[in-house]
């Protein structure tokens, strides 16, 4: 947060830009852009290729954890089907970019021009478009999953969302094979008859044609934007409405919060960003498979949110980064690494059950120079 000249006279607990400072609202986006550029051009040079790959996956994990935090952390609706949205986004983005590329340029992956090795290429922009389409499809799914949350609570809702993830997984398994030309087995556009079931690769996964356009730049830019969105939600009336639902639904309703609308809204927003994370993952060089929608991945994300502290954005970011890196750091211990990983989690939950930061943010732990209370109460209101 930036310091303002009038900071001493305005005791705003969480700094909002002053009047007429709307352009400043874009400042965080600029910072995200800067971080993304630094990651793109600085990080690999400093750390090498392997760590960069881990960093890429860690950035995707950040998007997932921060978005799940909006449902689980803010609104208190326990969703364990986040991987379902992730997979929907991944497949939709992959299909857009592969079939789109074939339709436009006649072949997948001809328009590389990866940022970092060259200029911003058209193929890369197609990936971004794919991510947006994936996010929108995932958000629609989020709307559908949000509806039962109006009637179900706690464990029951968790089971519904778990079921959702499994449904997505099974549907993807039943999807059709990728269409190929007869003579040289290259990918081609599906004919009308092949559109059902949609040609997404079936049980093998979408294992061909997706170019790894997702560079550190795109991943960290979108991670930054996800964090900005999450933070601005939390700082607004809308975010407080989310939090009030987590705290006490009955009181929230009595205070005029339309909980039905806000619960669905939380699911839609969270699913949207999970879809973006999926789209990036599909373009990160990994083969996307139906099991990406399964609960194993959902649990990975939940662990990040719970460990970081439900509702804490910085907590989710730190947990996502650490938990993505940890299995790699422990690689030397080979067979024992999963045991060590699990033990660390157990110890963490015993020592700090509320998560790393609880509901607070990382900067709440540092003493702040602020006029904590208004010096004088507003006129006419003195007891």
């Amino acid at each position: 947060m930036t310091t303002r000249p009038n900071a001493s006279t305005s005791p705003v607990p969480s700094p909002l830009p002053g009047a007429g400072a709307w352009p400043r609202a874009w400042l965080p986006v600029g910072i995200a852009l800067l971080v993304a550029l630094l990651m793109q051009f600085g990080f690999p040079a400093l750390t090498g290729e392997f760590v960069s790959k881990v960093g890429l996956q860690a950035g995707i994990a950040v998007i997932l954890a921060v978005s799940l935090n909006i449902v689980n952390g803010y609104t208190g609706q326990f969703s364990i089907g986040h991987a379902g949205f992730f997979a929907i986004g991944a497949y939709a983005a992959a299909a857009t970019s592969v079939y789109g590329s074939i339709a436009i340029w006649g072949a997948p992956g001809r328009q590389a021009g990866l940022l970092g090795t060259g200029v911003l290429g058209w193929g890369e922009l197609l990936m971004v478009g794919g991510c947006v389409i994936g996010a929108i499809v995932a958000a629609l799914a989020g709307y559908l999953v949000g509806l039962p949350s109006l009637r179900l609570r706690g464990d029951y809702l968790a089971i519904v969302t778990l079921g959702f993830g499994e449904i997505v997984r099974v549907l993807l398994q039943q999807s059709g094979r990728l269409p190929r030309t007869e003579e040289d087995e290259l990918l081609r556009l599906p004919t009308a008859g092949e559109l059902f079931p949609p040609p997404l690769g079936g049980a093998q996964g979408f294992d061909d044609g997706v170019v790894p356009y997702a560079s550190l730049f795109w991943v960290y830019l979108l991670a930054g934007i996800t964090c900005i969105v999450a933070f601005r939600l939390k700082q607004s009336s809308m975010g407080r409405a989310f939090l009030s639902i987590r705290e006490d639904e009955i009181a929230a309703r009595a205070m005029g919060v339309d909980i039905a609308r806000y619960k669905v809204r939380a699911f839609v927003i969270a699913a949207f960003f999970a879809g973006i994370a999926g789209g990036l993952y599909a373009h990160s060089g990994s083969v996307i498979q139906p099991k990406d929608a399964g609960f194993a991945r959902s649990f990975d994300v939940i662990i990040m949110v719970v460990l970081g502290g439900m509702g804490s954005i910085s907590g989710a970011v730190v947990a996502a980064l650490v938990l993505s890196a940890l299995p790699e750091l422990l690689r030397d211990f080979d067979a024992f690494r999963l045991i060590i990983y699990a033990l660390l989690l157990i110890i963490m939950m015993i020592v700090r059950p509320q998560g790393l930061f609880g509901v607070r943010e990382i900067w709440d732990f540092f003493p702040r120079r602020r006029a904590a209370t208004p010096a004088t109460p507003p006129a006419g209101a003195t007891p």
């Binding site: 607004s236 009336s237 407080r240 705290e247 009955i250 003195t382």
Partner: protein, 260 residues
């Protein structure tokens, strides 16, 4: 707006849970600016009546009119929107939110919230956030809670939690405020202060108040009109002085007189 029409007009509402007639044929007419009491022994149906008024339960009979507008059948948040706000018998604050955020949630009701405005921090959005913050501070200052606005609500002492709940209810800018046993668990001095505070917010904010209370002294002191419930049935509705002499009320509270 005719001034003689009651602001809150409740006509014959009631609800049955299975065979239990929790509230039957309850009628209340509270004029603008009035301070009415709803009393009765434990289990008489007072809180159920509140839940009917605020839409937690749907009334099965009768009608509720607030400022000329029918509000029965509406959802709780719509009733809050219409101008009826409440506190809860067993405090229901948002425990992990800060004191000021508790009030700010309630201020949420008056204003528009577009997702785009929120995410882009449009000037209108920022202006609204500032207004909400200022108004919340103003409200907190009413009970001197503005000095602890950053504390989590659950860390406040009991009496302050009750006060904060009243302030939060006022954050929705209600026409009618329903207070469910605001003095529960308070000592005599605190009750006295509370009575003064209720009177003050009533005049300062021009509120109309309906009060559920066990403490007879408090109710008799400040209410202009009292309705007495027993087993869900209205057994008396009159000014305090008459209520104190009403044999049915005395019977409900103390039992039948000996030797009859």
């Amino acid at each position: 707006m005719t001034n003689d029409a009651p602001l809150l007009d409740v006509a014959g509402i009631g609800i049955t849970f299975g065979g239990l007639k929790a509230v039957q044929d309850l009628s209340l007419r509270i004029p603008r600016g009035g301070l009415h009491g709803l009393i009765g022994p434990n289990g008489a149906g007072k809180t159920t009546a509140f839940n009917l008024l605020t839409g937690v339960y749907q009334t099965q009979t009768g009608r509720i009119t607030l400022d000329g507008r029918r509000v029965d059948g509406l959802k709780p948040h719509e009733i809050a929107q219409a101008g009826l706000s409440r506190t809860f018998q067993n405090i229901r604050l948002f425990p992990n939110l800060s004191v000021i955020d508790n009030v700010r949630v309630a201020c949420h009701l008056r204003g528009s919230h577009s997702l785009a405005g929120t995410l882009l921090r449009s000037p209108a959005h920022l202006e609204q956030e500032r207004r909400v913050l200022a108004r919340s501070r103003e409200l907190l200052a009413v009970f001197g809670l503005h000095t602890r606005e950053h504390e989590q609500a659950k860390n406040l002492p009991y009496g302050d939690q009750r006060r904060l709940e009243i302030l939060r209810a006022m954050g929705t800018e209600p026409k009618v405020l329903l207070l469910d046993e605001p003095a529960a668990g308070m000592n005599p001095q605190e009750k006295k202060d509370l009575a003064a505070a209720i009177n003050r917010i009533r005049t300062e904010f021009g509120l109309t108040i309906l009060l559920i209370e066990h403490d007879m002294g408090l109710v008799m002191d400040i209410c202009e009109h009292i309705t007495v419930l027993d087993y869900g049935v209205t057994i008396a509705a009159a000014p305090p002085a008459e209520i104190q002499r009403n044999p049915k009320v005395i019977e409900a509270y103390l039992g039948e007189p000996a030797g009859t």
